[in-house]
Protein backbone atom coordinates (compact mmCIF):
# COMPACT_ATOMS: atom_id res chain seq x y z
CA UNK A 1 0.00 0.00 0.00
CA UNK A 2 2.74 2.42 0.94
CA UNK A 3 3.94 4.42 -2.03
CA UNK A 4 0.85 3.82 -4.11
CA UNK A 5 -0.94 7.03 -5.01
CA UNK A 6 -4.45 5.71 -4.84
CA UNK A 7 -5.18 3.69 -1.74
CA UNK A 8 -8.08 1.44 -2.67
CA UNK A 9 -9.50 1.31 0.84
CA UNK A 10 -9.28 5.08 1.18
CA UNK A 11 -10.94 5.42 -2.20
CA UNK A 12 -13.86 3.15 -1.25
CA UNK A 13 -14.44 4.87 2.04
CA UNK A 14 -14.22 8.15 0.14
CA UNK A 15 -17.12 7.06 -2.05
CA UNK A 16 -19.03 5.98 1.04
CA UNK A 17 -18.31 9.38 2.54
CA UNK A 18 -19.66 11.17 -0.54
CA UNK A 19 -22.79 9.00 -0.68
CA UNK A 20 -23.39 9.60 3.01
CA UNK A 21 -23.07 13.35 2.51
CA UNK A 22 -25.42 13.26 -0.49
CA UNK A 23 -28.03 11.24 1.39
CA UNK A 24 -27.97 13.66 4.28
CA UNK A 25 -28.41 16.70 2.03
CA UNK A 26 -32.05 17.77 1.81
CA UNK A 27 -33.44 17.69 -1.71
CA UNK A 28 -32.44 20.87 -3.48
CA UNK A 29 -35.71 21.10 -5.40
CA UNK A 30 -38.26 22.14 -2.82
CA UNK A 31 -41.10 22.59 -5.31
CA UNK A 32 -40.98 19.08 -6.78
CA UNK A 33 -44.32 17.33 -6.96
CA UNK A 34 -44.92 14.56 -4.45
CA UNK A 35 -47.07 11.58 -5.38
CA UNK A 36 -49.14 10.28 -2.46
CA UNK A 37 -52.18 8.11 -1.89
CA UNK A 38 -55.10 10.52 -2.08
CA UNK A 39 -57.73 9.64 0.51
CA UNK A 40 -61.28 10.65 -0.43
CA UNK A 41 -60.17 12.50 -3.51
CA UNK A 42 -62.71 14.61 -5.35
CA UNK A 43 -63.46 15.05 -9.02
CA UNK A 44 -63.65 18.17 -11.09
CA UNK A 45 -65.58 17.77 -14.31
CA UNK A 46 -67.47 20.02 -16.63
CA UNK A 47 -68.10 21.44 -19.96
CA UNK A 48 -66.44 24.32 -21.77
CA UNK A 49 -68.62 25.93 -24.40
CA UNK A 50 -68.31 28.67 -26.96
CA UNK A 51 -70.50 31.68 -26.29
CA UNK A 52 -72.30 32.68 -29.45
CA UNK A 53 -71.12 31.88 -32.93
CA UNK A 54 -67.51 30.83 -33.31
CA UNK A 55 -65.26 33.01 -35.47
CA UNK A 56 -64.15 31.52 -38.77
CA UNK A 57 -60.85 29.72 -38.66
CA UNK A 58 -58.16 31.41 -40.69
CA UNK A 59 -57.65 29.80 -44.09
CA UNK A 60 -54.15 29.70 -45.57
CA UNK A 61 -53.12 29.28 -49.15
CA UNK A 62 -50.73 26.36 -49.34
CA UNK A 63 -47.53 27.52 -51.03
CA UNK A 64 -45.35 24.48 -50.47
CA UNK A 65 -46.61 20.95 -51.23
CA UNK A 66 -50.12 21.91 -52.46
CA UNK A 67 -50.05 18.64 -54.44
CA UNK A 68 -50.31 16.84 -51.11
CA UNK A 69 -51.78 19.30 -48.58
CA UNK A 70 -54.31 20.79 -50.97
CA UNK A 71 -54.50 24.33 -52.32
CA UNK A 72 -55.70 25.77 -49.05
CA UNK A 73 -55.97 24.63 -45.46
CA UNK A 74 -57.81 26.05 -42.49
CA UNK A 75 -56.37 26.47 -39.00
CA UNK A 76 -57.85 24.54 -36.12
CA UNK A 77 -58.01 27.37 -33.62
CA UNK A 78 -61.76 27.14 -33.03
CA UNK A 79 -63.19 23.64 -33.02
CA UNK A 80 -66.76 24.11 -31.86
CA UNK A 81 -69.24 21.25 -31.91
CA UNK A 82 -72.31 22.54 -33.82
CA UNK A 83 -74.62 20.29 -31.80
CA UNK A 84 -73.75 21.44 -28.30
CA UNK A 85 -71.33 24.38 -28.70
CA UNK A 86 -68.65 22.32 -26.94
CA UNK A 87 -65.20 23.90 -27.39
CA UNK A 88 -62.46 21.39 -28.10
CA UNK A 89 -58.79 21.80 -27.12
CA UNK A 90 -59.33 23.88 -24.01
CA UNK A 91 -56.75 23.12 -21.32
CA UNK A 92 -58.14 23.06 -17.79
CA UNK A 93 -55.65 22.81 -14.92
CA UNK A 94 -55.32 23.31 -11.19
CA UNK A 95 -52.78 25.76 -9.88
CA UNK A 96 -50.15 25.46 -7.17
CA UNK A 97 -50.71 21.84 -6.27
CA UNK A 98 -47.53 20.16 -5.01
CA UNK A 99 -48.85 16.93 -3.53
CA UNK A 100 -51.44 14.52 -4.88
CA UNK A 101 -52.12 11.45 -6.99
CA UNK A 102 -49.27 9.44 -8.39
CA UNK A 103 -48.56 9.86 -12.06
CA UNK A 104 -47.10 7.14 -14.24
CA UNK A 105 -44.83 8.67 -16.90
CA UNK A 106 -46.76 8.79 -20.16
CA UNK A 107 -45.77 9.21 -23.78
CA UNK A 108 -47.66 11.87 -25.70
CA UNK A 109 -47.88 11.19 -29.41
CA UNK A 110 -47.69 14.14 -31.77
CA UNK A 111 -48.26 13.21 -35.36
CA UNK A 112 -47.67 15.16 -38.55
CA UNK A 113 -50.72 14.08 -40.49
CA UNK A 114 -52.28 15.54 -43.62
CA UNK A 115 -50.35 18.75 -43.06
CA UNK A 116 -51.66 19.22 -39.54
CA UNK A 117 -50.41 18.46 -36.07
CA UNK A 118 -52.56 15.76 -34.51
CA UNK A 119 -53.61 16.39 -31.83
CA UNK A 120 -53.62 20.15 -32.17
CA UNK A 121 -53.32 20.65 -28.39
CA UNK A 122 -51.57 18.31 -25.94
CA UNK A 123 -50.92 18.43 -22.22
CA UNK A 124 -48.49 16.46 -20.11
CA UNK A 125 -46.44 16.50 -16.96
CA UNK A 126 -42.71 17.20 -16.67
CA UNK A 127 -41.13 13.76 -16.68
CA UNK A 128 -43.47 12.50 -19.41
CA UNK A 129 -42.14 11.95 -22.91
CA UNK A 130 -43.39 12.92 -26.31
CA UNK A 131 -43.01 11.09 -29.56
CA UNK A 132 -43.08 12.92 -32.88
CA UNK A 133 -44.23 10.96 -35.94
CA UNK A 134 -44.71 11.79 -39.58
CA UNK A 135 -47.46 10.02 -41.49
CA UNK A 136 -47.08 12.24 -44.57
CA UNK A 137 -44.96 11.50 -47.64
CA UNK A 138 -43.26 14.93 -47.47
CA UNK A 139 -40.70 16.69 -45.28
CA UNK A 140 -42.07 18.35 -42.18
CA UNK A 141 -40.12 19.85 -39.32
CA UNK A 142 -41.37 19.93 -35.78
CA UNK A 143 -40.17 23.08 -34.07
CA UNK A 144 -40.89 23.43 -30.35
CA UNK A 145 -40.56 26.79 -28.61
CA UNK A 146 -40.89 26.96 -24.83
CA UNK A 147 -42.24 30.44 -24.00
CA UNK A 148 -40.98 31.55 -27.41
CA UNK A 149 -37.48 30.07 -27.25
CA UNK A 150 -36.46 27.11 -29.41
CA UNK A 151 -35.90 23.96 -27.36
CA UNK A 152 -36.12 21.46 -30.21
CA UNK A 153 -36.37 21.55 -33.98
CA UNK A 154 -36.23 18.20 -35.71
CA UNK A 155 -36.52 17.30 -39.36
CA UNK A 156 -39.28 14.79 -40.09
CA UNK A 157 -38.64 13.56 -43.64
CA UNK A 158 -40.77 11.06 -45.51
CA UNK A 159 -40.36 7.61 -43.94
CA UNK A 160 -38.21 9.14 -41.22
CA UNK A 161 -37.78 7.85 -37.72
CA UNK A 162 -40.08 8.70 -34.84
CA UNK A 163 -38.40 11.07 -32.43
CA UNK A 164 -38.90 10.46 -28.72
CA UNK A 165 -37.76 13.01 -26.16
CA UNK A 166 -38.44 13.74 -22.49
CA UNK A 167 -40.38 16.76 -21.25
CA UNK A 168 -38.01 18.29 -18.76
CA UNK A 169 -39.47 21.71 -18.00
CA UNK A 170 -42.97 22.95 -17.32
CA UNK A 171 -44.42 25.76 -19.41
CA UNK A 172 -46.22 26.38 -22.67
CA UNK A 173 -44.62 25.00 -25.78
CA UNK A 174 -45.64 26.36 -29.16
CA UNK A 175 -45.43 23.84 -32.01
CA UNK A 176 -44.74 24.86 -35.58
CA UNK A 177 -43.68 23.39 -38.89
CA UNK A 178 -41.49 25.97 -40.63
CA UNK A 179 -41.81 24.20 -43.97
CA UNK A 180 -45.61 24.62 -43.71
CA UNK A 181 -46.15 27.68 -41.49
CA UNK A 182 -49.90 27.11 -41.24
CA UNK A 183 -49.15 23.98 -39.19
CA UNK A 184 -49.24 24.96 -35.52
CA UNK A 185 -50.10 23.40 -32.19
CA UNK A 186 -49.55 23.75 -28.47
CA UNK A 187 -48.14 21.52 -25.77
CA UNK A 188 -48.74 22.37 -22.11
CA UNK A 189 -46.35 20.92 -19.57
CA UNK A 190 -47.33 20.95 -15.90
CA UNK A 191 -45.47 20.22 -12.67
CA UNK A 192 -48.38 18.07 -11.49
CA UNK A 193 -50.91 15.65 -13.01
CA UNK A 194 -54.07 17.76 -12.47
CA UNK A 195 -54.92 18.90 -15.98
CA UNK A 196 -57.17 17.91 -18.86
CA UNK A 197 -57.82 18.88 -22.47
CA UNK A 198 -61.46 19.16 -23.52
CA UNK A 199 -62.79 16.67 -26.06
CA UNK A 200 -64.98 17.41 -29.08
CA UNK A 201 -67.97 18.00 -26.79
CA UNK A 202 -65.97 20.45 -24.69
CA UNK A 203 -65.99 18.01 -21.79
CA UNK A 204 -63.20 17.30 -19.36
CA UNK A 205 -62.62 15.41 -16.13
CA UNK A 206 -59.89 15.66 -13.50
CA UNK A 207 -59.99 13.00 -10.78
CA UNK A 208 -58.40 12.11 -7.41
CA UNK A 209 -58.00 15.70 -6.29
CA UNK A 210 -57.09 16.14 -2.62
CA UNK A 211 -60.01 18.02 -0.99
CA UNK A 212 -59.49 21.76 -0.74
CA UNK A 213 -59.95 25.05 -2.55
CA UNK A 214 -58.04 25.61 -5.78
CA UNK A 215 -57.54 28.15 -8.45
CA UNK A 216 -58.36 26.69 -11.86
CA UNK A 217 -56.86 27.98 -15.08
CA UNK A 218 -58.81 27.72 -18.32
CA UNK A 219 -56.79 28.24 -21.46
CA UNK A 220 -57.81 28.24 -25.07
CA UNK A 221 -55.55 29.54 -27.80
CA UNK A 222 -58.13 31.94 -29.17
CA UNK A 223 -59.16 33.46 -25.81
CA UNK A 224 -57.42 35.35 -22.99
CA UNK A 225 -56.61 33.00 -20.11
CA UNK A 226 -59.35 32.64 -17.46
CA UNK A 227 -59.13 31.82 -13.78
CA UNK A 228 -61.80 30.41 -11.48
CA UNK A 229 -61.90 29.14 -7.94
CA UNK A 230 -63.31 25.74 -7.03
CA UNK A 231 -63.75 23.83 -3.80
CA UNK A 232 -63.29 20.10 -3.93
CA UNK A 233 -65.23 18.26 -1.21
CA UNK A 234 -63.94 14.90 0.08
CA UNK A 235 -65.13 12.20 -2.31
CA UNK A 236 -67.38 14.73 -4.03
CA UNK A 237 -67.97 15.78 -7.59
CA UNK A 238 -67.58 19.41 -8.47
CA UNK A 239 -68.90 20.84 -11.67
CA UNK A 240 -67.04 23.53 -13.53
CA UNK A 241 -68.54 24.85 -16.69
CA UNK A 242 -67.75 27.98 -18.60
CA UNK A 243 -68.95 29.76 -21.70
CA UNK A 244 -66.03 31.37 -23.45
CA UNK A 245 -66.57 34.35 -25.65
CA UNK A 246 -64.39 33.73 -28.68
CA UNK A 247 -64.43 37.26 -30.05
Amino acid sequence: MKGSIVNVKDFTSGIAFVLFTLLCTPAAVAQAYEGIVVAKGGELAGNIKAKGAAPENEVHKVIHNPEYCGDSISEETYLVNPENNGLQNTVVSLEGITKGKKHDPATLVLENLKCRFVPHVLAGMAGDSYEIRNGDPILHNTHLRLEGTTILNVAMPENGKNIKKPLTQSGTIGIKCDAHPFMTGALWVFDHPYFAVTDKNGEFKISDIPPGTYKVTIWHEGVPIKEKEVTIAPGGKTNLSADLSLK
Binding site: T12, I63, H64, T149, T150, A179
Partner: protein
Protein backbone atom coordinates in the same frame (compact mmCIF):
# COMPACT_ATOMS: atom_id res chain seq x y z
CA UNK B 1 -11.71 1.43 12.84
CA UNK B 2 -11.73 4.47 15.12
CA UNK B 3 -13.93 7.24 13.86
CA UNK B 4 -11.10 9.72 13.42
CA UNK B 5 -9.16 7.32 11.23
CA UNK B 6 -12.23 6.47 9.20
CA UNK B 7 -12.93 10.15 8.73
CA UNK B 8 -9.37 10.91 7.69
CA UNK B 9 -9.12 8.00 5.24
CA UNK B 10 -12.53 8.92 3.94
CA UNK B 11 -11.37 12.46 3.54
CA UNK B 12 -8.24 11.42 1.66
CA UNK B 13 -10.39 9.25 -0.63
CA UNK B 14 -12.67 12.22 -1.10
CA UNK B 15 -9.80 14.37 -2.29
CA UNK B 16 -8.78 11.69 -4.78
CA UNK B 17 -12.40 11.39 -5.93
CA UNK B 18 -12.61 15.16 -6.15
CA UNK B 19 -9.59 15.22 -8.42
CA UNK B 20 -11.40 12.92 -10.83
CA UNK B 21 -14.36 15.26 -10.91
CA UNK B 22 -12.06 18.17 -11.57
CA UNK B 23 -10.54 16.40 -14.53
CA UNK B 24 -13.78 15.12 -16.06
CA UNK B 25 -15.65 18.34 -16.84
CA UNK B 26 -12.52 20.24 -17.80
CA UNK B 27 -13.30 20.28 -21.51
CA UNK B 28 -16.92 21.26 -20.86
CA UNK B 29 -16.41 24.48 -19.06
CA UNK B 30 -13.56 26.81 -19.73
CA UNK B 31 -13.95 28.08 -16.20
CA UNK B 32 -12.02 25.09 -14.89
CA UNK B 33 -9.53 25.00 -17.73
CA UNK B 34 -5.95 26.11 -17.87
CA UNK B 35 -5.95 28.68 -15.11
CA UNK B 36 -8.97 30.60 -16.37
CA UNK B 37 -11.03 31.84 -13.48
CA UNK B 38 -14.27 33.71 -13.45
CA UNK B 39 -13.84 37.48 -13.66
CA UNK B 40 -17.18 39.03 -14.51
CA UNK B 41 -15.93 42.54 -13.83
CA UNK B 42 -13.26 42.12 -16.47
CA UNK B 43 -15.77 40.33 -18.74
CA UNK B 44 -18.21 43.23 -18.39
CA UNK B 45 -15.46 45.72 -19.16
CA UNK B 46 -14.36 43.92 -22.30
CA UNK B 47 -17.97 43.32 -23.37
CA UNK B 48 -18.95 46.96 -22.97
CA UNK B 49 -15.91 48.10 -24.86
CA UNK B 50 -16.13 45.75 -27.85
CA UNK B 51 -19.54 44.08 -27.95
CA UNK B 52 -22.17 46.41 -26.48
CA UNK B 53 -22.15 48.71 -29.53
CA UNK B 54 -24.15 46.11 -31.43
CA UNK B 55 -25.33 43.59 -28.82
CA UNK B 56 -26.39 46.26 -26.31
CA UNK B 57 -25.27 46.93 -22.74
CA UNK B 58 -28.05 44.65 -21.54
CA UNK B 59 -27.21 41.95 -24.08
CA UNK B 60 -30.57 42.37 -25.78
CA UNK B 61 -29.13 42.96 -29.24
CA UNK B 62 -30.14 46.63 -29.20
CA UNK B 63 -26.82 48.39 -29.23
CA UNK B 64 -26.48 51.86 -30.71
CA UNK B 65 -25.14 50.43 -34.00
CA UNK B 66 -27.71 47.63 -34.17
CA UNK B 67 -30.22 49.44 -36.31
CA UNK B 68 -29.97 48.56 -39.95
CA UNK B 69 -27.77 45.54 -39.39
CA UNK B 70 -28.95 42.46 -41.26
CA UNK B 71 -28.86 39.90 -39.80
CA UNK B 72 -29.50 41.58 -36.46
CA UNK B 73 -26.96 41.24 -33.66
CA UNK B 74 -27.71 38.32 -31.35
CA UNK B 75 -30.02 39.06 -28.42
CA UNK B 76 -28.38 37.07 -25.62
CA UNK B 77 -31.30 37.38 -23.20
CA UNK B 78 -33.21 34.59 -24.95
CA UNK B 79 -30.35 32.16 -24.48
CA UNK B 80 -30.71 30.63 -27.91
CA UNK B 81 -27.77 30.22 -30.31
CA UNK B 82 -27.28 29.02 -33.87
CA UNK B 83 -24.06 27.10 -33.38
CA UNK B 84 -24.08 24.60 -30.58
CA UNK B 85 -22.36 21.28 -30.10
CA UNK B 86 -25.71 19.58 -29.52
CA UNK B 87 -28.97 19.75 -31.50
CA UNK B 88 -30.88 22.99 -32.20
CA UNK B 89 -32.38 24.42 -29.04
CA UNK B 90 -29.75 23.02 -26.69
CA UNK B 91 -27.33 25.22 -24.80
CA UNK B 92 -23.94 26.09 -26.30
CA UNK B 93 -20.79 25.09 -24.45
CA UNK B 94 -18.25 27.76 -23.54
CA UNK B 95 -16.16 26.43 -26.40
CA UNK B 96 -19.04 26.93 -28.88
CA UNK B 97 -19.41 30.58 -27.82
CA UNK B 98 -15.65 31.04 -27.83
CA UNK B 99 -15.51 29.73 -31.40
CA UNK B 100 -18.18 32.12 -32.67
CA UNK B 101 -16.47 35.08 -30.98
CA UNK B 102 -13.01 34.13 -32.20
CA UNK B 103 -13.99 33.28 -35.77
CA UNK B 104 -16.80 35.75 -36.30
CA UNK B 105 -19.81 35.11 -38.52
CA UNK B 106 -18.93 35.04 -42.19
CA UNK B 107 -20.91 37.40 -44.42
CA UNK B 108 -22.36 39.38 -41.49
CA UNK B 109 -21.26 42.36 -39.38
CA UNK B 110 -19.79 40.09 -36.71
CA UNK B 111 -16.02 40.16 -37.09
CA UNK B 112 -13.50 37.58 -35.86
CA UNK B 113 -12.25 38.75 -32.48
CA UNK B 114 -8.94 36.90 -32.46
CA UNK B 115 -7.34 40.31 -32.13
CA UNK B 116 -8.28 40.60 -28.49
CA UNK B 117 -6.57 38.49 -25.86
CA UNK B 118 -7.78 34.93 -25.46
CA UNK B 119 -8.23 35.41 -21.72
CA UNK B 120 -10.45 38.42 -22.41
CA UNK B 121 -12.55 36.45 -24.89
CA UNK B 122 -13.06 33.86 -22.18
CA UNK B 123 -14.15 36.50 -19.69
CA UNK B 124 -16.63 37.77 -22.28
CA UNK B 125 -18.04 34.25 -22.71
CA UNK B 126 -18.64 34.08 -18.96
CA UNK B 127 -20.24 37.51 -18.99
CA UNK B 128 -22.53 36.75 -21.97
CA UNK B 129 -23.83 33.79 -20.00
CA UNK B 130 -25.18 36.12 -17.31
CA UNK B 131 -27.74 37.60 -19.72
CA UNK B 132 -30.03 34.55 -19.81
CA UNK B 133 -31.20 32.34 -16.92
CA UNK B 134 -31.04 29.39 -19.31
CA UNK B 135 -27.32 29.14 -18.64
CA UNK B 136 -28.07 28.52 -14.96
CA UNK B 137 -30.94 26.10 -15.49
CA UNK B 138 -29.68 24.01 -18.40
CA UNK B 139 -26.40 22.42 -19.34
CA UNK B 140 -25.04 21.79 -22.84
CA UNK B 141 -25.58 18.19 -23.95
CA UNK B 142 -22.83 15.98 -25.28
CA UNK B 143 -21.72 17.37 -28.63
CA UNK B 144 -22.96 15.58 -31.74
CA UNK B 145 -20.22 13.31 -32.99
CA UNK B 146 -18.87 14.39 -36.33
CA UNK B 147 -17.76 11.35 -38.26
CA UNK B 148 -14.54 11.56 -40.27
CA UNK B 149 -15.24 12.73 -43.82
CA UNK B 150 -15.21 10.24 -46.71
CA UNK B 151 -13.08 11.24 -49.74
CA UNK B 152 -15.78 13.28 -51.53
CA UNK B 153 -15.94 11.47 -54.86
CA UNK B 154 -18.27 12.48 -57.75
CA UNK B 155 -20.31 9.42 -56.79
CA UNK B 156 -20.84 10.84 -53.32
CA UNK B 157 -21.93 14.18 -54.79
CA UNK B 158 -24.50 12.32 -56.91
CA UNK B 159 -25.78 10.47 -53.87
CA UNK B 160 -25.92 13.78 -52.02
CA UNK B 161 -28.29 15.10 -54.69
CA UNK B 162 -30.66 12.22 -53.96
CA UNK B 163 -30.43 12.84 -50.21
CA UNK B 164 -31.14 16.54 -50.84
CA UNK B 165 -34.22 15.82 -52.92
CA UNK B 166 -35.56 12.96 -50.81
CA UNK B 167 -35.35 14.89 -47.56
CA UNK B 168 -37.09 18.02 -48.70
CA UNK B 169 -34.14 20.44 -48.48
CA UNK B 170 -35.60 22.29 -51.48
CA UNK B 171 -38.63 23.31 -49.40
CA UNK B 172 -36.52 26.26 -48.26
CA UNK B 173 -33.15 26.10 -50.04
CA UNK B 174 -34.73 25.57 -53.46
CA UNK B 175 -34.14 22.89 -56.11
CA UNK B 176 -30.66 24.22 -56.92
CA UNK B 177 -29.80 25.64 -53.51
CA UNK B 178 -30.52 29.24 -54.50
CA UNK B 179 -32.56 29.98 -51.38
CA UNK B 180 -35.68 30.13 -53.50
CA UNK B 181 -37.67 27.20 -52.11
CA UNK B 182 -41.41 27.58 -51.86
CA UNK B 183 -41.28 28.15 -48.10
CA UNK B 184 -38.26 30.47 -48.27
CA UNK B 185 -40.32 33.65 -48.05
CA UNK B 186 -42.34 32.59 -45.01
CA UNK B 187 -39.56 31.75 -42.57
CA UNK B 188 -39.20 33.46 -39.20
CA UNK B 189 -36.82 33.08 -36.26
CA UNK B 190 -37.40 32.98 -32.48
CA UNK B 191 -37.80 36.77 -32.46
CA UNK B 192 -40.46 36.67 -35.16
CA UNK B 193 -38.12 38.31 -37.65
CA UNK B 194 -38.00 37.14 -41.24
CA UNK B 195 -35.01 34.93 -41.93
CA UNK B 196 -33.61 33.61 -45.21
CA UNK B 197 -32.32 30.13 -45.90
CA UNK B 198 -28.67 29.76 -46.91
CA UNK B 199 -27.99 30.31 -50.62
CA UNK B 200 -25.55 27.59 -51.61
CA UNK B 201 -24.83 29.05 -55.03
CA UNK B 202 -22.79 31.78 -53.35
CA UNK B 203 -20.58 29.28 -51.56
CA UNK B 204 -20.50 31.55 -48.50
CA UNK B 205 -21.28 29.88 -45.19
CA UNK B 206 -21.71 31.84 -41.98
CA UNK B 207 -19.38 29.42 -40.22
CA UNK B 208 -16.72 29.62 -42.93
CA UNK B 209 -15.64 27.00 -45.42
CA UNK B 210 -14.69 24.19 -43.09
CA UNK B 211 -16.63 21.10 -44.11
CA UNK B 212 -17.16 19.77 -40.60
CA UNK B 213 -19.11 22.91 -39.79
CA UNK B 214 -21.47 22.38 -42.71
CA UNK B 215 -21.86 18.83 -41.43
CA UNK B 216 -22.65 20.19 -37.97
CA UNK B 217 -25.25 22.64 -39.30
CA UNK B 218 -27.09 19.79 -41.07
CA UNK B 219 -26.79 17.37 -38.15
CA UNK B 220 -27.73 19.82 -35.39
CA UNK B 221 -29.74 22.40 -37.27
CA UNK B 222 -29.41 26.05 -36.27
CA UNK B 223 -30.91 27.03 -32.93
CA UNK B 224 -33.67 29.64 -33.05
CA UNK B 225 -34.06 29.35 -36.84
CA UNK B 226 -36.29 27.16 -39.03
CA UNK B 227 -33.33 24.88 -39.87
CA UNK B 228 -34.05 21.60 -38.06
CA UNK B 229 -31.64 18.93 -36.91
CA UNK B 230 -31.24 15.93 -39.18
CA UNK B 231 -28.94 13.86 -36.97
CA UNK B 232 -31.76 11.52 -35.94
CA UNK B 233 -32.92 11.03 -39.52
CA UNK B 234 -29.81 10.77 -41.68
CA UNK B 235 -26.83 8.45 -41.49
CA UNK B 236 -23.41 10.12 -41.09
CA UNK B 237 -22.48 9.01 -44.63
CA UNK B 238 -25.65 10.68 -45.98
CA UNK B 239 -24.83 13.92 -44.17
CA UNK B 240 -21.36 13.91 -45.71
CA UNK B 241 -22.87 13.27 -49.15
CA UNK B 242 -25.12 16.28 -48.57
CA UNK B 243 -22.13 18.41 -47.55
CA UNK B 244 -20.35 17.53 -50.82
CA UNK B 245 -23.46 18.09 -52.90
CA UNK B 246 -24.12 21.47 -51.26
CA UNK B 247 -20.54 22.53 -51.97
CA UNK B 248 -20.97 21.49 -55.60
CA UNK B 249 -23.89 23.93 -55.97
CA UNK B 250 -21.54 26.92 -55.88
CA UNK B 251 -21.70 28.94 -59.08
Amino acid sequence: MPFKKLFLSGFRGLIILGLFFLILPANRSLASDGGHSLNLTRGKGVYERYCAGCHGVKGDGRGIYAEGLNPKPRDFTKGVFKWTGGPAGSMPSDLDLMMTISEGVNGTSMPAWRGIRESDRRYVVDYIKTFSPRFKNETPPRATFIYPPPPGTPDEIDKGKTVYEKNGCMACHGPKGRADGRSAGTLTDDWGDAILPANFSKGVFKTGKEEWKIYRSIANGLGGTPMPSFSDQLKPAEIWELVYYIQSLRD
